[in-house]
C-alpha cells in the first residue's frame, strides 16, 4: 500500500491507546476582531479550511495520512507539552492546536508566543497534509497567519 492504510492505523492505535477523531489548528490575531484561520482534519482525512477573511475550502487527504500526522505529533512530544505557552514578548498571533479523541477526550495546546521547534514540526506536517489534499495549499496564499 502506498500510504499507511489500515495496518498503520491499527499500529498507531496500539501505540497511542487513544484514537483520534479530529485535529484542529487555529491561528488568530490577539487583537480584537482579527478573524481566525482554521484547519480541521478528521481521522478519515477530510479537511475543512476557513481563512480569517472568510474563505472556505474542503478537501480529502489520502487514507492513513491523518493517523500518520497523529503519530508524528506523538513523536514530537505532544502529550507532554504544556497546555498553555503565554506571550513573552510582543506576540500578536495566537495558535491553538486541538486534538479530539473518540470517546470525548480533548487535548488543547494554546501557543501565544513564537512556535517552538516541535510545534512548528507539527504545523509543517499539517501544511504538507493540506498540500497533499489540495495542491494550491502549498503556496501559502489561502491563510493570513498560517
Amino acid at each position: 500500500m502506498v500510504l499507511l492504510g489500515a495496518a498503520g492505523a491499527v499500529a498507531a492505535h496500539a501505540q497511542t491507546g487513544r484514537v483520534i477523531q479530529r485535529i484542529e489548528l487555529r491561528a488568530a490575531s490577539t487583537k480584537p476582531g482579527g478573524g481566525v484561520d482554521q484547519i480541521t482534519i478528521t481521522s478519515a482525512g477530510e479537511i475543512s479550511l476557513l481563512s480569517a477573511s472568510g474563505r472556505r475550502a474542503t478537501g480529502k487527504a489520502p487514507a492513513g495520512t491523518a493517523t500518520a500526522l497523529w503519530q508524528l505529533m506523538k513523536n514530537e512530544g505532544f502529550d507532554n507539552w504544556d497546555k498553555e505557552y503565554k506571550s513573552d514578548t510582543s506576540d500578536y498571533v495566537g495558535k491553538v492546536l486541538t486534538v479530539d479523541f473518540i470517546g470525548g477526550d480533548r487535548t488543547e495546546i494554546v501557543l501565544n508566543r513564537s512556535e517552538f521547534p516541535e510545534f512548528a514540526h507539527v504545523v509543517g506536517a499539517i501544511k504538507f497534509l493540506l498540500a497533499l489534499a489540495m495542491p494550491e495549499m502549498a503556496t501559502n496564499r489561502f491563510f493570513e497567519r498560517l
Binding site: 502506498v2 500510504l3 499507511l4 498503520g8 499500529a11 501505540q15 492513513g64 495520512t65 500518520a68 500526522l69 503519530q71 508524528l72 506523538k74 513523536n75 514530537e76 513564537s114 512556535e115 521547534p117 510545534f119 512548528a120 514540526h121 507539527v122 504545523v123 509543517g124 506536517a125 501544511k127 504538507f128 497534509l129 498540500a131 497533499l132 495542491p135 494550491e136 502549498a138 503556496t139 501559502n140
Partner: protein, 147 residues
C-alpha cells in the same frame, strides 16, 4: 493547477530531484540520521552510530507527486532565501543539514547549527511526515536516534 516550485524547477525535473535532510551531533565522529527523498519515487532512511560506520538503511517507494508537493511547501516557506549557514550561537550540539539537488547539481544547502526558525522547522516536520508515510518506523523511535 501548476504548483510553483523552488529554484526554477518544473514538474519535468521532479524525477531528477533529491532532497536530503541529515541530523548529526557536532561532536567529532558522531553518527547521524538522514532522510533522503528522491523525486523518482523513493524514500531512503539512513542511521549511523558513528560518522564512519556503515549506516543502517531502509528504502520505500513514494508517489512522485508527494515530492512535488514537498518542493512546493519548501518554496512557500522561503527556502530560496535562506542563508547557507546558521552558525551555533550558544551550546548547540546538533546540526541539521538540508540539501536540495537536481542530478549532480546542488541547488541549495542549509546548515542549521542553532535553534531552528519556524519556517525551517515546518520543512523538517513536512519531511518527517513524507518519510513516515513511506516508512512508518520513522516515528516509532526504533530506527532514528536524532530525528
Amino acid at each position: 493547477m501548476t504548483l510553483q516550485l523552488p529554484f526554477g524547477l518544473t514538474g519535468d525535473h521532479i524525477p531528477e530531484v533529491t532532497i536530503r535532510f541529515r541530523v548529526a551531533s557536532t561532536k567529532v565522529m558522531s553518527g547521524y540520521d538522514e532522510i533522503i527523498v528522491r523525486g523518482a519515487g523513493e524514500v531512503e532512511l539512513q542511521a549511523a552510530s558513528m560518522a564512519d560506520a556503515e549506516p543502517a538503511v531502509r528504502r520505500a517507494n513514494l508517489p512522485p507527486a508527494m515530492v512535488e508537493r514537498l518542493l512546493g511547501l519548501l518554496r512557500a516557506e522561503g527556502v530560496e532565501g535562506w542563508d547557507e549557514e546558521y552558525p551555533s550561537e550558544t551550546r548547540d550540539y546538533v546540526a541539521k543539514l538540508l540539501t536540495v539537488e537536481r542530478g549532480d547539481l546542488r541547488l541549495k544547502q542549509v546548515a542549521m547549527c542553532r535553534q531552528e526558525f519556524a519556517e525551517f522547522s515546518r520543512v523538517y516536520g513536512a519531511l518527517k511526515l513524507v518519510a513516515s508515510l513511506a516508512t512508518p518506523e520513522v516515528l516509532t523511535g526504533d530506527f532514528f536516534q536524532r530525528i
